[in-house]
Symmetry: C2
Subunit: 145 residues, 2 copies
DNA sequence: GTCCACCCTCGAGGCGACTTGAAGTCAAGG
DNA sequence: CCTTGACTTCAAGTCGCCTCGAGGGTGGAC
């Protein structure tokens, strides 16, 4: 048992091990290393070869979560961070990203809603074979029974 | 040019080559072979080693499309076809599938709508750095500028 | 006979976001 | 000293859904 590596309870200082970060952020340590490897997270300070993070990293991970939920790829998120670090106004980047993503996202939602419609119809289906079933017929309004 | 293999114009008989099927279904021949390889499509008759399809296959492909749009995986679709062929009422299968898929789909749509919200807010963002930006703050209602 | 379009099989590759495994390092507790 | 447990690196594997390429075959038109 190593005190400095303990994943439970707060460390004496603010420096977090990767295990602590992972636990608090609800991710695996491997994904944090992965983010670092592709440049989404910056390389943290190291003590005896081991990563030590300030509390900032939790916010950065939350940003990543938020942006992923916004449909951005890790590559886009990396660019966002890079821009932020180099002083490019983040707003401009975000606007550009949003303009690219929104139509895609709208299309995704539209498809998903069509799917939901289909599945709802499917859940009332009484058909015996696929051949009879209007659900799977092209260009036929869906309703079954 | 080979008459029997011609992809343009209808064949003299109803038997379609894989190329014709692909063209009419708007898919690549490779995906049709793939469906066959994983059991989603049955093995068609062969003439001189080449697949010949009846017109039914177009409907089957349309079913696959519809079911994929409904969020079913190819494995689930295969099971559906299998059930249909073996006489299990398709309705039961579909209901079971729908019950499994609908909550997932609802969650997907909810996430996507949250994302859309986020992106819409992002498109009006004026922030200079990520650190200031309320968009990326956890648990803060999104609005920017 | 030659050419060409189309077909065949089989294995590999590619996407995105990770996860897993092997082999090794480090610091503290007993 | 030895064990323990978290950490390290790097390569490879996973998932679903295909796509592509190599190498070879078939059959009709000229």
């Amino acid at each position: 048992m190593a005190a400095g590596n303990d994943t439970s309870g707060p460390s004496p200082d603010q420096r977090l091990s990767i295990g602590e970060v992972a636990q608090r952020a609800g991710r695996r340590a491997s994904s944090i290393r992965y983010y670092e490897s592709i440049g989404v997270l910056p390389q943290p300070e190291r003590i005896a070869g081991q990563r030590r993070y300030g509390p900032d990293v939790l916010r950065q991970l939350a940003v990543i979560d938020a942006a992923q939920r916004g449909g951005l790829s890790l590559e886009q998120i990396r660019d966002l961070f890079t821009a932020s670090r180099t002083g490019t106004p983040v707003g401009d980047q975000l606007r550009a990203l949003a303009e690219r993503q929104l139509p895609e996202l709208d299309a995704l939602i539209a498809r998903a809603e069509t799917s939901r419609h289909w599945l709802r119809a499917a859940s009332t289906c009484q058909c015996l074979t696929l051949d009879d079933c209007p659900l799977v017929a092209p260009d036929v309004p869906w309703h079954c029974s």
